[in-house]
């Protein structure tokens, strides 16, 4: 099983997680820029964080055989904070970077006028930088927020095929599928989605434009949820190639629209994911 985790916040994770992810087949990931868990108080706090996403965290991931990419944006929650909004002026510098494969996470948190403006402006940035967009859907008032999200996407002029609408669930999947956007699902231990509900959704809606992520961060979450979803798919009768489509080909196709994905093997790491599945002892190379 080869896995591309299209949404995971590695800055909040340990090296044990990296080792476990590699051992279970994760070879590439995307780390979206997001909230820190507590409010930022200045633009400098963002830029230091962005520097980590395009620099240190990429380097750290590479030590464990995993290709790291990121998305850059002002997140919806902090779009409401006047101390943070000026970060929009430095985004163009970051959107030009090698490891940046989308504008994100953008979208709605509380659906305020400020969020409207920042969301639309960042979709314009995505168009200008020829990048896809990763759109977060709100935790509260989710269906209404998702519909409003799709309206803003439509008005922006960005192609629907260049938009991934994330954190979907049973009530919100249909409208996104209908709109022609990519559908993202965050598989969590006890909130958002779980792997068995995910399998049910895949059976009902098919595999096209379906994206599964762990969205693991500093909260209670599990960086192996992508792998566990793959296992659940197999147990439910999906084939290996179905699993590969959802866990690798789909995210690669979506983020590949940036033309910036790097997916070749890192030097010193063996190619066959099955050889050392679950066995980190066989992991080769690196600087350890």
């Amino acid at each position: 099983m080869r896995i591309f985790d299209p949404h995971i916040h590695m800055t909040s994770r340990t090296t044990d997680d990296y080792e476990a992810m590699f051992a279970h087949g994760v070879r590439a990931l995307v780390e979206p820029a997001f909230w820190l868990g507590q409010p930022r108080t200045s633009v400098a706090s963002f830029t230091d964080y962005f520097d980590g996403l395009i620099g240190w965290e990429r380097f750290r991931a590479a030590q464990f055989g995993i290709r790291h990419h990121c998305t850059i944006a002002l997140n919806p929650k902090e779009a409401n904070d006047p101390r943070c909004v000026d970060v929009l002026d430095v985004l163009p510098r970051y959107l030009a970077k090698d490891g940046v494969v989308a504008v994100g996470e953008i979208g709605y948190d509380s659906m305020t006028p400020e969020e409207d403006e920042v969301f639309a402006r960042q979709l314009r940035l995505a168009i200008a930088h020829e990048l896809p967009a990763l759109v977060h859907t709100p935790h509260r008032d989710k269906l209404s927020g998702t519909k409003r999200t799709l309206d803003v996407v439509r008005e922006s002029g960005i192609g629907n095929e260049r938009v991934l609408v994330d954190h979907l669930n049973e009530p919100t999947v249909a409208v996104v599928k209908e709109a022609g956007c990519w559908m993202g699902f965050s598989i969590y231990p006890d909130t958002k989605m779980d792997e068995h509900r995910m399998v049910t959704i895949l059976k009902e809606y098919g595999l096209e434009r379906m994206i599964v992520n762990s969205a693991a961060d500093w909260g209670r979450s599990d960086p192996l949820k992508t792998y566990k979803t793959g296992k659940a798919m197999l147990a439910a009768g999906f084939s290996e190639s179905d699993v590969d489509k959802v866990l690798w080909q789909n995210p690669v196709e979506f983020y590949g629209q940036s033309d910036r994905l790097l997916l070749d093997e890192l030097p010193g790491f063996v190619a066959n994911t099955d050889t050392f599945l679950g066995n980190s002892v066989l992991r080769g190379g690196g600087n350890q």
Binding site: G55, R58, F59, A96, D98, R260, P267, N287
Partner: protein, 486 residues
């Protein structure tokens, strides 16, 4: 590590060898091409061993690296120039001489022994001459292998092995022996090669064991001072850097002995002007600059509008690639850098040309501040190309990089700029950091010159700490400490 500029003692034929070596070192050369001759370490002298010891001590005292040259005119036969040769009817004395030269080179600690084929006598047909070359070289190689001293076969205009392609073919036929390398005279390239010297250098690349520097005109085998002939000296030196050549590159002006001190002074001035940063391997990559159309366009854009560099700089890797320049011995590009490092250096060079120095420091600082790891490396490796007014800004950048734990940044931060400008304390900590995080010390420019007792103490303590913990001491640490005892 870069190549070592030197001077050939055959250009000091009217000086005692000791005097010649002193003069060469005084002028700033760091190597010498030593032609064994009747008056310069005569290999047939009765007290040869003592003489070799004395010369070895002098080379060591003066800090001169060396190669041994065997092109003396009348050393073996007082009547016939260069005779006997490997392709004549009685090559035995030549073979014996080359074997002696190998032993002397071993005792001197020289890089290699250079030799040529000799002129094919009109009475010897080419097939016989070729067979004699093969036999003779095979015989000498046996001694070279016993002593572990490389041989450098030098294509020589007018001789049987005349061009680089001849020498490479002979080497192939002999099974590409590891110890049979190439000596390349860049002037000869102008005179007889179908391609320029830089191209020859790239073609021979890893086989080069010795370089001779001089100017020449097309078709004329006459060793000239630089700029008197047609050689493109900057491009030639840049090619040496590009292929990662680290050996001796010595001026070869055997017919200028009558004015040797003056000629040698002029030569090193010309070399320094042509290679602004001869010890920094990553400031000039002509292969990249001329070969990639995107970069050519990018340079023009920066010339027209310097702020264009803000969007071009991050895109470099996507456009020109990211491979290490010397993948075989530097797979991560930590020591010699990467293709995108080289291209970014080119762009910053253009920026430095067109931007007011006062604005330049600020722009470079911003490129670093907002750069990802690759862009930051590009800035770090470019700092030597910037004017003196940018040094304070450069030092701030270096100190930032040395606080990082990304080994690519740490490696790029220990280059020539740092060797020249960083204070002792910070520099020592930089070296120690390299040992800690696994950056090869080959990435540290001017390591030998800047290593002092305090660094040795620090490294010695570090080694003790490793041993106390039952851990391996990095080989680079051991080497650095052993250097202190020799």
């Amino acid at each position: 590590m870069s190549y070592h500029l030197g001077y050939g003692t055959n250009g000091f034929a009217n000086h005692r060898l000791d005097d010649a070596l002193e003069l060469i070192a005084d002028l700033g050369y760091t190597s010498v091409a030593l032609t064994l001759d009747h008056d310069h370490l005569d290999p047939y002298a009765d007290d040869l061993a003592a003489r070799v010891d004395k010369v070895a001590a002098t080379l060591s005292r003066l800090g001169l690296r060396s190669v041994v040259e065997t092109g003396a005119r009348y050393l073996l036969d007082p009547r016939r120039k260069h005779y006997p040769t490997l392709v004549c009817d009685e090559p035995e004395r030549r073979i014996d001489f080359l074997n002696r030269a190998l032993r002397i080179a071993a005792d001197l600690g020289a890089d290699c022994v250079s030799f040529w084929s000799g002129i094919r006598p009109s009475t010897v047909d080419p097939l016989t001459a070729w067979r004699r070359m093969r036999d003779g070289v095979t015989e000498v190689l046996a001694e070279a292998e016993r002593l572990s001293v490389p041989l450098g076969l030098e294509p020589e205009p007018g001789m049987f092995v005349e061009r680089l392609s001849d020498a490479l073919r002979l080497r192939e036929e002999l099974g590409a022996p590891e110890l049979l390398g190439i000596t390349l005279d860049v002037g000869h390239c102008v005179a007889v090669e179908p391609q320029d010297a830089a191209t020859c250098i790239r073609q021979a690349a890893d086989l080069l064991v010795n370089i001779q520097l001089d100017d020449m005109r097309t078709g004329v085998h006459e060793h000239l001072e630089f700029s008197e002939g047609e050689l493109n000296l900057p491009a030639t030196l840049a090619a040496l850097t590009e292929v990662g050549y680290t050996g001796v590159a010595a001026v070869e002006l055997p017919r200028h002995s009558h004015a040797a001190p003056v000629v040698a002074a002029r030569a090193i001035a010309a070399l320094r002007a042509a290679a602004v940063h001869p010890t920094f391997p990553t400031t000039d990559f002509p292969g990249v600059t001329v070969d990639h159309p995107w970069l050519v366009t990018a340079e023009q854009q920066v010339r027209t509008d310097p702020t264009a560099i803000r969007t071009l700089f991050p895109a470099v890797g996507r456009k020109v690639g990211r491979d290490p320049l010397r993948p075989d011995d530097d797979p991560k590009g930590l020591v010699h850098g990467t293709v995108d490092d080289a291209a970014r250096t080119t762009l910053l060079g253009v920026l430095a040309d067109v931007l007011d120095p006062a604005l330049l420091a600020g722009e470079v600082a911003q490129l670093y501040r907002y750069g990802d790891d690759a862009e930051r490396r590009g800035v770090l490796r470019s700092l030597t190309t910037l004017p003196a007014s940018a040094v304070p800004a450069g030092l701030d950048i270096i100190k930032d990089a040395l606080r990082a734990n990304d080994i690519r940044l740490v490696a790029a931060a220990m280059g020539e700029f740092t060797a020249r400008h960083l204070d002792d304390h910070s520099w020592r900590h930089g070296v120690l950091k390299c040992l800690f995080v696994g950056v090869p010390l080959a990435a540290v420019a001017d390591l030998d010159r800047r290593t002092d007792d305090e660094l040795r103490r620090m490294v010695s303590d570090y080694a003790a700490e490793r041993r106390a913990a039952g851990r391996e001491v990095p080989a680079d640490a051991t080497t650095l400490l052993e250097g202190a005892n020799s």
